[in-house]
Amino acid sequence: MPRAGRRRPVGGVAVGRCPGDGDLRRGGRKRRGEGPGRSRGSWSGAAMGGSASQLPRDLLDEYQELTFLTKQEILLAHKRFSELLPKEERESILLKRVPKSKILTLPELRANPFQDRICRVFSTAEDGDGSMSFEDFLDLLSVFSDSATVEIKSHYAFRIFDFDDDGILDRKDLEKLVNCLTGEGDETRLSESEMDQLIQNILEESDIDKDGTINLSEFQHVISRSPDFASSFKIVL
């Protein structure tokens, strides 16, 4: 009866939306969630300090195939994510979402000026509040990992820098970006003329079709020539 070898989502393929809270998996995974008494399947993560949260091995394999993370990194992410949840929710870690405020307490994200955008881009919550599930967290770490390709990093960088979500980087986006870089507070911003000059220079360098905005391919073209983009666009737990 239990089909440990082949998984099928309960609702079939055309689900119609990106499941925010694991409703896709609820049918398929319920068998696995049934306690440690089962002898079928191997459980990994038992070495994680004796906590009750464990990842089944084929889920681990699947994550390894679908992300750029190694096994150790996935297990470490699992541990850090479960620490963000209250104790009683740690059993069903795959089904829960962590609110944005808690995600931003992670030291890797706390000092980042783009923390809001990062949460918003990677979160799959329907109401857009920026809360993240464990798989969103893995997606985030995968894009920011050492082995991710420059293409996928630049794709997500573009989305993070696109503050108004309209698919292009225009003047306002660039202004907000520069202000994020130079720091919060009025005395840390560049003056009006300096900002204009800077944005003019950026558009001159990156805008190939001269329409006043930077679209995804122009961004990727400019970024691919930057030698230290890959090493600075990195978050490692």
Binding site: C18, L24, E65, T70, A111, E135, D170, L216, V222, S226
Partner: protein, 702 residues
């Protein structure tokens, strides 16, 4: 917020450059080039819309036959989709999987295995945790220094393995096993006075002589495996074949240099793979600084605040420099003439300083060598003896510290833009450091070969100065050994006497003094030049002291921990950050320059100079290279003819011509590619204007 071209009726400052049409934004947002909108996570409808169509955009299509095979080309992890989407695609792939042949399954399995291996290797890098911590606190600029240091440790360990494995260990084993050694080389026709070489002390020896010997590599140290002079010119019969010691020595030294060259080139190419692609990689500085400027791995705390400050500072400096350049271009000819003559005079001053430094090194070496031969060590006190022995090292180190300060002052008078100032100072410092080493070697050469005059009194008998240097290779090795020891001593002294007291003063001392001194800044370029200089010393000395790579590896490991200690206790991040990767390439370039400089004395000693008669594995041979020819003569006829042909001019000249032709072809190819790129850029501009025009027309007509 609407894009610029969608702002109706408002005049922007550069209206005639951007399209003035006013198309509605909704149609534009549906175009394929705005594809990223479809990936919006919080716009759930976009996801749903994409899935209902059967395939998310950007994902491979499901087709039969070869289409299914094309799916392999994009691994799932590289798709910018959320996890659930990727899972769906994976299931779809698995359904197709049973149709695949065994070969493809094997390929997929291999790729999976390779991914696992790479993951394991990445995790097993040495000092990974420390580098991660440094990156989090100080940024990638300073981390690149420690990365470079780690690379040098690995390089030296690899080189040490080669040298120890083929030279030191076999010799030690042969002595230990007391195997039969057959002497080679013609000793009969040599003047007896050339053969006198006895570095051991006789009679009553005071205790501090041993200490001096340990620190300067003389006395009992000369008769260890550390120096060239200890090895024999013999062949050992060993398990059926004969191990030719001089041949092994020569080949392992040349092999060590080649391995170092290949390793450094491999790393340089790896670093450069991306940045050399664009035709003008210098011209995207603003975009790179803004888009790739923030270090996402910075930990919270002062590091993040410093990064904000340094980014702001850098952007402001660059904008100022731009306006300055514009002003400079508008200077009158009179002003330009004045500026050029000022720069000419300052360059002459720089050359004068360099000349003075080189002359100081030359005289110091001469005096030190003569003083060491004339008086025996027992007559001087310990401190005086050490001072005399280390005089060249002291002068070189003093020059390396003081002259760059003068360079920094002078370059400010030349009124270059800031980035050019930094690069010029760096270039001059590099030249100073590497050339002072060359001057030291030149000074040794003049003593060993009597200023290159084979007819001079001291050099007539043995073709080298056998009274001052009975074993000249060991003398050179000793100088390099002394430079190594002195470098380490200077680091320890500076750490104890300068950096820690400064930190104590700044934190606990009176406020005005603290503000005057300021906390120590960890400047990456001077530290890297120190490392390159040490590595060049190692390379120059390896031919004459086979254990030197091992000693350098130990020294660099010690460096790593000491520098890490001083970084975390005493330093704050620099104000002006050095771009990590361009600087990594710059470090490797300077390292290659050091390697090129180290080849010069090696090749000269191997091909031209006569080896010492009294010591070493090449005694009795006319040159070191002749052992190789003798060995080649014992090979079978075909191999011998082939090697002789490769070494002759009949091969070298056509090869050179062929390489020239190849180079010209590549230059022409590069020129045609850049023309093509310019054309394509122009076409893209036209396409952009076409697009705006067409969309306007469509909406007007509909």
């Amino acid at each position: 917020m609407e894009p610029r071209w969608a702002q109706t009726g408002r005049d922007g400052p550069d209206d005639d450059d951007w399209g003035q049409q006013q198309p509605p934004s909704s149609l534009f947002l549906q175009l394929p080039s705005n594809a990223t909108l479809r990936f919006r996570g919080n716009v759930a409808k976009a996801w749903g819309a994409a899935l209902d169509e059967g395939e998310p955009p950007g994902a491979p299509q499901e087709r039969d036959g070869e289409g299914a095979r094309e799916q392999e080309s994009v691994p799932l992890k590289q798709l910018p989709l959320c996890m659930a989407e990727k899972r769906i695609l994976r299931l779809r792939e698995q359904r197709v999987a049973w149709k695949r042949s065994r070969w493809e399954q094997w390929q997929v399995g291999m790729r999976h295995l390779w991914g696992q291996v790479r993951g394991a290797l990445l995790y097993a890098q040495v000092w990974r945790g420390s580098l991660h911590r440094i990156e989090g606190h100080f940024g990638t600029g300073i981390q690149s220094y420690f990365n470079f240091l780690r690379f040098l440790v690995l390089l030296n360990l690899g080189g040490a393995l080669l040298m120890v494995g083929f030279v030191v260990a076999p010799n030690a084993a042969f002595e230990g096993l007391q195997l039969n050694q057959t002497q080679r080389g013609q000793n009969s026709m040599v003047n007896r006075s050339c053969l006198q070489y006895d570095p051991t002390e006789r009679g009553l020896v005071s205790y501090f002589t041993y200490l001096m010997d340990l620190l300067s590599g003389t006395g009992f140290m000369e008769l260890t495996h550390l120096f060239y002079g200890y090895y024999q010119n013999s062949a050992v019969d060993f398990v059926g074949f004969s191990y030719n010691i001089p041949l092994a020595y020569l080949l392992s030294v040349l092999g060590y240099f080649s391995v170092c060259l290949l390793w450094i080139l491999h790393r340089a190419v790896h670093l450069l793979k991306r940045s050399l692609v664009g035709e003008n990689w210098e011209l995207s500085t603003y975009s790179h600084k803004v888009f790739a400027g923030w270090d996402f791995c910075l930990a919270p705390g002062t590091a993040a605040a410093m990064k904000h400050n340094s980014l702001r500072y850098e952007l402001r400096m660059d904008l100022e420099e731009q306006t300055l350049r514009r002003l400079m271009a508008q200077r009158s000819p009179g002003q330009r003439l004045a500026l050029f003559s000022l720069r000419g005079a300052l360059n002459l001053l720089v050359l004068g300083l360099l000349g003075a430094a080189f002359y100081g090194v030359y005289r110091a070496t001469e005096y030190s060598q003569r003083a060491q031969q004339d008086t025996s060590p027992g007559q001087q006190g310990l401190v005086l003896g050490l001072l005399v022995a280390y005089l060249p090292s002291i002068v070189i180190t003093a020059a390396n510290q003081l002259v760059p300060l003068a360079f920094g002052l002078l370059v400010r008078l030349e009124r270059y833009p800031l980035s050019l100032e930094i690069r010029l100072t760096l270039l001059r410092t590099v030249f100073l450091r590497l050339s002072s080493l060359l001057v030291l070697l030149f000074s040794l050469w003049t003593q060993i070969t009597c200023h290159g005059d084979p007819a001079a009194d001291s050099c007539r008998i043995c073709h080298y100065n056998h009274q001052q240097h009975p074993c000249w290779e060991t003398s050179v090795g000793q100088e390099m050994y002394k430079l190594l020891v002195f470098d380490l001593l200077v680091l320890l002294l500076v750490l104890l006497l300068v950096e820690f007291p400064r930190k104590l003063l700044v934190t606990h001392g009176p406020a005005p003094l603290a503000r005057l001194l300021g906390q120590q800044e960890f400047l990456v370029p001077p530290n890297v030049l120190d490392l390159v200089y040490s590595q060049t010393v190692c390379w120059v000395g390896t031919a004459f002291s086979p254990l030197l790579p091992l000693l350098h590896a130990a020294k660099f490991i010690l460096f790593f921990y000491l520098k890490k200690l001083t970084l975390f206790s005493n330093c704050r991040p620099a104000d002006r950050t050095f771009r990590a990767s361009i600087s990594s390439f710059f470090f490797l370039l300077v390292l290659l320059l050091g390697l090129a400089i180290a080849w010069v004395p090696l090749l000269y000693s191997v091909f031209v100079l006569q080896p010492s008669q009294a010591c070493g594995p090449f005694r009795g041979e006319p040159t070191m290279w002749s052992t190789l020819w003798v060995a080649i003569d014992t090979l079978p006829l075909v191999a011998r003819e082939f090697l002789q042909f490769v070494g002759s001019l009949a091969f070298a000249v056509p090869l050179f011509l062929l390489l020239c032709i190849l180079m010209f072809y590549l230059m022409a190819l590069d020129h045609s590619y850049s023309c093509l790129v310019k054309e394509l850029k122009g076409q893209l501009r036209l396409e952009g204007q076409d697009k705006v025009f067409l969309v306007t027309q469509i909406t007007e007509l509909s």
